[in-house]
Symmetry: C2
Subunit: 198 residues, 2 copies
């Protein structure tokens, strides 16, 4: 229900219909709705983390770890919104742990490793949250992806080029823009910065 209709489609009423049951049955198993959402998000991420790579060189392993989370959230935007609301869920512990170990293997000194890991996790979650927001706008608009992007481009084109030269220039690059690629560039920037800490 979350994947097909977004967060707003998952109401307890709709869930009782889908499961042909009542509220009592649901509330016997989960504390409240946010508990339900959090558990569902954990489930998705647990699936991703189980297929983690450990034996490659740290740099590519870190990239794989980050892009794994990105792809999972890209496929299930509601997970991104959920983790932006409630970080430090059990499932993210695995992610954080994986990043920490790989930074160790990468040669980051113990003193700054926690800050570096936190920075990387924050970046990944930040992109995830924004992707989730974009996806929500898309599914909420009622239109298909193509016309939605056209409308968005039209809006951006109206930005005053005199006041916002950089933003205006950015809009011209919107066509050749790929979220996943930009995310990877960001990961590489942080990895390059972390390398200077060695």
């Amino acid at each position: 229900m979350l994947d097909s209709g977004g967060e707003k489609a998952l109401t307890l009423r709709a869930l009782t219909v889908r499961l042909s049951t009542g509220y009592g049955a649901i509330y016997h198993h989960v504390a409240d709705k946010s508990d339900l959402l959090a558990t569902a998000a954990d489930e998705v991420i647990a699936g991703v983390m189980s297929g983690a790579v450990d034996d490659a060189d740290p740099r590519t392993a870190l990239r794989a770890l980050a892009v794994g989370l990105f792809d999972a959230i890209d496929a299930h935007p509601w997970v991104g919104a959920e983790f932006s609301r409630r970080p430090w869920r059990p499932a993210l512990l695995d992610f954080y742990e994986g990043v920490g170990r790989l930074l160790d293997a990468f040669g980051v000194p113990e003193k700054v490793r926690f800050d570096a890991a936190g920075t990387l996790v924050n970046y990944v979650l930040g992109v995830a949250a924004q992707n989730a927001a974009n996806a929500r706008l898309l599914t909420g608009s009622g239109t298909d992806r193509k016309t939605f992007l056209e409308n968005a481009a039209e809006q951006w084109a109206q930005v005053d080029p005199g006041r916002y030269p950089f933003v205006h220039a950015a809009t011209t690059h919107l066509g050749e823009h790929d979220d996943r690629e930009q995310f990877l560039v960001g990961v590489d920037i942080f990895l390059a910065g972390i390398s200077t800490l060695r």
Copy 2:
């Protein structure tokens, strides 16, 4: 109302009481509640951005810009939650523009400047969203900051050291941890990474 009681304290009912008016008056000026929230968030950020520095060297100016947004969101957590839900608001245009120009001044080649700016914006918003989430947990717990942190530390201490050695080690550093400092370390990592692109 947002600053004192968080997002959940701002209901339209409570607002009509506070302003001693009715729904009609409010809905005549704003489209809906999210419009109200977004406008309020814009207001806060506009105040921060107006005091931006342009004439210092790009590195310190970028740090100042980033930390300005961080501090504003730290003081008003609901702004962080709002921007994580709806990025690309007018107020963030100023931030994005400022980052872009400073990256230009910093010597980042045009080709990667947009990706770099996007990365930094995502990072700042990611940290902001997480800070907002933490603040929400704090105000929602009903306890004061000290006992809340003690409870949190207790929870983290229960993490299995065998399965999560890195996370477990991180908890021991929780005492000397400062969100703002860690944020700045992250910005510096980003800047170091950006330097390699020059």
